[in-house]
């Protein structure tokens, strides 16, 4: 007897056959979008994908849209999804998981496969992303030393937050040894604790130049880094797997440097606003919470002027007394000086000669004060007020 199927059971059987084929459950198809008029009211997208000879219907449920590219009718896209038969219409269709607009080449397919694998492994989970310190003390920059990226980073950070230390690990950012060198630099930064943030950055370039940053090795090193990693790779529209795994992503080197540093002008404003609020609060507390302060203030204002007045009066009196004493002292000294002056004048030689006293000197011009200083027969000079007597010692009589 012939095996007779109901339509539903036939399609259910066919779906079972499809389910058993693992290739049809995780399939990659590239082609051109057609019959697409934008998302339906439900948010789901219904369209077809075709090549020159064939066409397959596609359904892309709203919940699966996250992380996929937008597309329009006529776009060439790469789809990942699974084949099924939609029983109510009897259509073979592709249930879409993700859509990528760019890169229909083999490399892009490889990257997309890697992205999905790493995503499933949890490398891009937002909950595992490390926190970026608000006020970094040391930023370890992994980039090429003679690059515009490095110049841009230095410029931005000098202007925004010069409190920080920058440590550059000069690194090859493109070419053959780039992957190994970048991984090595991330490793060094971690082993030697060279910063509280790693900034992995390079300027724009060709897809080929940026390709190392889609490598599994670099992605895994970023993932394993104990220090949070911020990327600033290429231009705004460049997306690499390193950006996905990074803890924060800047769109460019400049953008990344801005994300990780506070602006010094904002900080200045913040401090002055704290200062102002603190003064207001302090004044308010003193005036309203402690009214006794006001009483003490008034008391002080009343007491102090009186005290000061008394002090000033005392000082004036002291000054007056001191002046009196000083003048007495000076007068005494002046009198004493006058007396001394007079006494000296008495002993003035000229004055004495006038009174009949004379000076005697020997030939060596020494003044003779005693008979012992002269010998008999020695010539002496006797100095008088109006002249000199030359004389000779005839004899000495000592008294």
């Amino acid at each position: 007897m012939k095996n007779i199927f109901e339509v539903s059971s036939l399609l259910a059987n066919l779906n079972n056959l499809i389910d058993q084929n693992i290739y049809l459950k995780d399939i990659w198809i590239q082609g051109e979008v057609t019959d697409y008029k934008g998302p339906a009211y439900s948010g789901h997208k219904y369209f077809s994908i075709k090549d020159e000879n064939s066409l397959i219907k596609c359904v892309f449920f709203k919940f699966a849209h996250i992380g996929s590219d937008d597309f329009l009718d006529g776009d060439k896209i790469l789809i990942n999804g699974e084949i099924e038969i939609y029983s109510p219409a009897g259509n073979l269709q592709l249930k879409v998981r993700s859509v990528k607009k760019h890169g229909l080449g083999d490399i892009s397919i490889e990257i997309e496969r890697l992205r999905q694998r790493l995503e499933q492994e949890g490398l891009f989970d937002t909950h595992r992303k490390r926190e970026i310190p608000l006020f970094p003390q040391t930023i370890c920059v992994i980039t090429s030393e003679n690059s515009s990226a490095w110049e841009d980073i230095k410029k931005v950070i000098t202007m925004r937050y010069p409190l920080v230390n920058l440590i550059l690990i000069p690194t090859l950012m493109q070419g053959e040894n780039c992957i190994e060198d970048v991984c090595n630099s991330i490793d060094i930064a971690n082993k030697e604790s060279l910063g509280d943030i790693i900034l992995l950055s390079r300027g724009g370039g060709s897809e080929e130049d940026l390709m190392p940053f889609n490598s599994e090795e670099i992605v895994r090193y970023i993932f394993s880094s104990k220090i949070p990693v911020v990327t600033g790779i290429g231009h705004e529209d460049d997306n690499t797997l390193s950006d996905y795994v990074a803890d924060t992503r800047g769109l460019t080197p400049t953008g990344a440097a801005q994300i990780i540093t506070p602006d010094i002008n904002d900080l200045r404003n913040e401090i002055s606003s704290f200062s102002l609020n603190m003064q207001k609060a302090f004044k308010y507390n003193l005036e309203f919470k402690f009214p006794e302060i006001e009483k003490v203030k008034i008391k002080l204002q009343n007491i102090y002027p009186r005290k000061i007045e008394v002090l000033i009066r005392n000082i004036d009196q002291l000054e007056f007394n001191l002046n009196g004493k000083l003048s007495d002292y000076v007068n005494t000294k002046i009198n004493k000086l006058e007396y001394l002056k007079h006494s000296i004048s008495i002993f003035n030689i000229t004055e004495m000669s006038k009174k009949g006293y004379a000076l005697v000197e020997n030939q060596k011009k020494r003044i003779i004060k005693s008979v012992n200083q002269v010998e008999k027969g020695e010539k002496l000079k006797i100095l008088l007020s109006d002249g000199i007597l030359n004389s000779k010692v005839e004899n000495k009589i000592k008294e």
Binding site: Q137, K154, V164, L166, L168, L194, I264, F274, S275, A281
Partner: protein
Amino acid sequence: MSEINSEVNKDFEDFEENLLLLQKIVNELENQDLSLSETIKFYEKGQLLVKQCNKALEQAQLIITNYEKI
């Protein structure tokens, strides 16, 4: 409260800590029921922190070092 009673950090590296402490002091002065001596103590400490933070910003100078890979 114990943090506010701690010493003011004088190093540049403690800028963040000083700023956070200043913020706490302002909050305490604005919202807490403090004694007179606490009010004065907090205010004095806050003034010192404002001075310290501004000094850190004025004197800040970017230090750049190149790491030598072996």
